[in-house]
C-alpha cells in the first residue's frame, strides 16, 4: 500500500502510454497530419509561435498535435525546444513599412494612402455555426485568385506618421543600442520600454486581454483608438560578417498594432497624442491590440502621468505574471506531493489545538 502512495517508475510509464492513447483518440478516424494543423489551424499555430517565441509553423503545428490541442502545453514544448537552439547572431530590425499587408485597417482615418484592406477576418462574420463544415467536403472554391497576391509590393506608410508631420503625436525615439534579450539575461527592473514589449510579445494572450480590457473600464484609462492594425509578411535580413552585407533569411507573418491615445499633457509634456504599440508573430489581432493597450498604460512614469495603482500600470506586477509557462508551472506544481510540508503543518496545528484544549481544561 505504501509503495502505491509513493508512485514510481511504472506508474509514470503507464501514464505516458495512456496519455498517448488519449491523444490519438478513436482510431476509426484518420490521424491528424501536422500539415493539416499547420494549414487549417493557422491562428492556433500563430499563437504557439508567438508565445513560444519561435517562428516555425511546422514545429508549432507538431507541438499542437503532441499537446492534444492544449495551446499552453504546445507553447511549452516550443519554448523547451527553442532554449536548446544555438544563437548565430541577431537579424537587422525588420521594417514593417515594407510589410506585404493582407490586412490593414485604421479606426482613425477613413481614407488612407495605400488604402484600407479588410483581408481575411472574422470581424464581420455572423457567429452562426456553419453546419456545412460538418460534411466531409466542406470547401467551396471562391472567385478569389490569391495565387499571386499581392501582385506588387507597395510600401505602405504607417498612418500615424501622418500625424507626426503635424507634430501632434509624440515622436518615437529610435533606440540605437541593443535592447537586451530576456531569454538570455535575468529580468531586472525597471525595464526599458523595448524590453517590456519583448516580454509582452510572448506573454499570455488571455492575461493581456484581461489587463488591456481593464484599462478600458477605468483602471488606468487611456482611451485608445486603433491608429493602424496591419497583418502581413515581412522579410527578415541578417548581416553576414563574411559577406559584409545583409541577406534575406526568412519571411515571417506579423501583426502590428499602433494605438493613438488621448493625453492631456503633464508637467513635462505638452498636450498631444501618445502611442501604444504591439508587434506579434502570426495573425493575432486580439493580442496585438492588448499589448498596445498595456504598453501605453505602463508608460505612465515616462509621460508624467498619475499612478492610480491600477494593475495595468504596475510594471512589476505585469512583467512577473504575464508569462503563461512560468504561471502554469507554478500554479500546477501544487499537484506535486507536499507530504513533508503538509505533515509539519499538521503537527503544528495539532500542537496548537492541544495547547488550547489544555488551557480550557485548566480553567474549568
Amino acid at each position: 500500500m505504501y509503495v502505491a502512495v509513493k508512485g514510481g517508475e511504472k506508474a509514470i510509464e503507464r501514464a505516458h502510454q495512456w496519455l498517448n492513447e488519449e491523444r490519438r483518440g478513436n482510431k476509426q478516424y484518420p490521424s491528424l497530419s501536422v500539415h493539416q494543423i499547420q494549414e487549417q489551424m493557422k491562428l492556433a499555430v500563430g499563437r504557439v509561435m508567438a508565445e513560444g517565441s519561435l517562428y516555425d509553423p511546422e514545429l508549432a503545428a507538431l507541438a499542437i498535435k503532441q499537446a492534444s490541442g492544449d495551446l499552453v502545453e504546445a507553447i511549452f514544448l516550443i519554448r523547451a525546444y527553442r532554449t536548446t537552439l544555438p544563437r548565430f547572431g541577431s537579424s537587422l530590425p525588420i521594417n514593417t513599412d515594407k510589410m506585404r499587408c493582407k490586412r490593414r485597417i485604421s479606426a482613425t482615418f477613413k481614407d488612407i494612402p495605400g488604402g484600407q484592406i479588410l483581408g481575411p477576418t472574422y470581424d464581420y462574420t455572423h457567429r452562426l455555426l456553419d453546419f456545412k463544415l460538418l460534411a466531409e467536403e466542406d470547401y467551396e472554391a471562391s472567385e478569389l485568385n490569391l495565387e499571386d497576391y499581392p501582385a506588387e509590393i507597395k510600401e505602405k506608410p504607417h498612418i500615424l506618421e501622418l500625424l507626426n508631420k503635424e507634430g501632434i503625436i509624440e515622436q518615437e525615439i529610435k533606440s540605437e543600442t541593443f535592447t537586451g534579450d530576456i531569454t538570455r539575461e535575468p529580468l531586472e527592473l525597471p525595464a526599458s520600454r523595448a524590453l517590456r514589449l519583448q516580454i509582452l510579445a510572448r506573454a499570455d494572450e488571455g492575461f493581456l486581454l484581461g489587463i488591456g480590457y481593464s484599462t478600458q473600464r477605468g483602471y488606468a484609462r487611456n482611451h485608445a483608438f486603433i491608429g493602424e492594425l496591419r497583418v502581413g509578411f515581412v522579410t527578415v535580413e541578417m548581416e553576414i560578417p563574411e559577406l559584409g552585407f545583409a541577406i534575406e533569411i526568412a519571411e515571417i507573418e506579423l501583426t502590428e498594432c499602433e494605438t493613438v491615445n488621448q493625453f492631456q499633457g503633464s508637467k513635462t509634456e505638452p498636450a498631444q497624442f501618445t502611442r501604444g504599440y504591439g508587434l506579434i508573430f502570426g495573425q493575432q489581432e486580439r493580442k496585438a491590440i492588448s499589448v498596445a493597450l498595456v504598453d501605453r498604460a505602463l508608460r505612465w512614469r515616462e509621460l508624467g502621468e498619475e499612478y492610480t495603482g491600477s494593475p495595468a500600470q504596475d510594471e512589476e506586477f505585469i512583467l512577473y505574471h504575464c508569462d503563461n509557462i512560468q504561471a502554469t508551472g507554478f500554479v500546477e506544481h501544487i499537484k506535486l506531493p507536499h507530504y513533508v510540508d503538509f505533515q509539519s503543518e499538521l503537527e503544528l496545528l495539532r500542537r496548537m489545538r492541544t495547547e488550547v484544549e489544555t488551557c480550557g481544561e485548566l480553567k474549568e
Binding site: 509513493k6 511549452f76 538570455r184 509557462i325 513533508v340 510540508d341 505533515q343 509539519s344 503537527e347 496548537m352
Partner: protein, 291 residues
C-alpha cells in the same frame, strides 16, 4: 527517444549556459545566502517541478558523478523518478539511492537524515527564493531590504505569530540567517531539517528556475534559524516512531492505514529507513499502530 537526446549536450544544457550558471554559482558561494540573479533557461519540465535545481545539477555534473534524486525524502516519488531519468538519459550518469554514495544529491523539501560529508553537493529545488516575499510582494523592495539588512519586518511577523498563536506559525521554509548577514529561505524543508543546514560538510546550492535566482551555502557555513531569546527555535516532528524501521529521531510521513483514519508513521527518508531495516531494526508494522 535515445536518438533524440543524442542531439543534446551532456546533461542537456549547452556549455555556454553551464558557464553562465557556474559564474552565478561562484558569486553565490562567495556571498553566502545572497540571491544571485541568473538567466534561467526553459527546461523540458515545467517551472515548479525543479527547473532551478535541475539547471544547477546539470552545471555541476561531470561524467564520473553519481547522482541521487529525492522528493519528499523519497527516491521513488514520481517527480524524483522523472528527474533521475532525465539525467540518466541526457548525461548517461550513474544514479544511486544511497545518500553516502552520491556525489550530488538533488532534493525537494528534505535534507537526508544521514549527515552529508566533505565533497558532496546537495542541490535544493526552490519555489520562492525570497524569504520576505509574503511580507512584501515587490522584488524591487525586497532587494533593498536585503541590501540594508532591514529585517525588522520579519521579526515583527514572528513576534506577532507568537503573540497571536503562542507559536511561530511557520513549520516549513522557516527563515534562517546566514553568517549573521543575509536572511535566507531554506526552501520548503520542514523546520526539523533547519539545523542540518548549519556547518554542513557539503556544499549546499539552491536553485529557483522560475524566479531566476541562485544562492548557496559553502561548507561549514554558520546558519541560524530566526528566533527570540525567550522563544528559542525548536524542531518539530510527529510524535511517533517509524512503523517500518522503528526510528525515533527521523522525520516522519503520516500514513492513513484504513477507512477509519487510523494513522501510522514511516520515515520520509526512504534510504535512511531501508538502511536501518537492512541492519535489522524493525518497527511495529503498519497495521498495528492505533491513532
Amino acid at each position: 527517444m535515445t536518438d533524440k537526446f543524442q542531439n543534446y549536450n551532456f546533461a542537456y544544457l549547452d556549455e555556454q549556459t553551464k558557464r553562465m550558471i557556474r559564474r552565478s554559482l561562484l558569486k553565490a558561494i562567495a556571498i553566502p545566502g545572497y540571491q544571485v540573479p541568473f538567466a534561467s533557461r526553459e527546461m523540458p519540465m515545467p517551472y515548479g517541478w525543479g527547473t532551478g535545481g535541475v539547471q544547477l545539477t546539470a552545471a555541476c555534473l561531470t561524467p564520473g558523478d553519481k547522482i541521487k534524486v529525492i522528493d519528499q525524502g523519497a527516491d521513488d516519488t514520481t517527480n524524483a523518478v522523472s528527474i533521475r531519468k532525465f539525467f540518466e538519459k541526457t548525461a548517461g550518469i550513474k544514479t544511486t539511492f544511497k545518500t553516502n554514495q552520491a556525489d550530488i544529491i538533488q532534493t525537494r523539501h528534505r535534507i537526508p537524515e544521514e549527515p552529508l560529508v566533505d565533497g558532496q553537493i546537495i542541490v535544493f529545488q526552490v519555489p520562492i527564493p525570497e524569504p520576505l516575499r509574503f511580507l512584501e510582494p515587490r522584488e524591487s523592495e525586497t532587494r533593498k531590504m536585503h541590501a540594508l539588512s532591514e529585517y525588522g519586518l520579519m521579526h515583527v511577523k514572528l513576534y506577532e505569530d507568537i503573540s497571536i498563536h503562542g507559536h511561530i506559525s511557520t513549520s516549513y521554509a522557516y527563515p534562517v540567517k546566514v553568517e549573521g548577514r543575509y536572511v535566507m529561505d531554506p526552501s520548503p524543508i520542514p523546520k526539523f531539517d533547519n539545523p542540518k543546514l548549519s556547518k554542513s560538510a557539503a556544499l549546499q546550492l539552491f536553485g529557483a528556475g522560475r524566479e531566476q535566482r541562485i544562492y548557496a551555502l559553502p561548507p561549514y557555513t554558520s546558519v541560524t534559524s530566526l528566533d527570540f531569546e525567550d522563544f528559542p527555535f525548536s524542531r518539530l516532528r510527529a510524535q511517533g516512531n517509524c512503523a517500518l524501521c522503528g526510528a525515533t529521531e527521523s522525520y516522519l510521513d503520516e500514513i492513513i492505514t484504513n477507512d477509519k483514519g487510523t494513522r501510522s508513521y514511516i520515515c520520509s527518508d526512504t534510504d535512511y529507513c531501508n538502511s536501518r531495516t537492512e541492519l535489522g531494526h524493525l518497527g511495529n508494522g503498519l497495521d498495528e499502530v492505533e491513532s
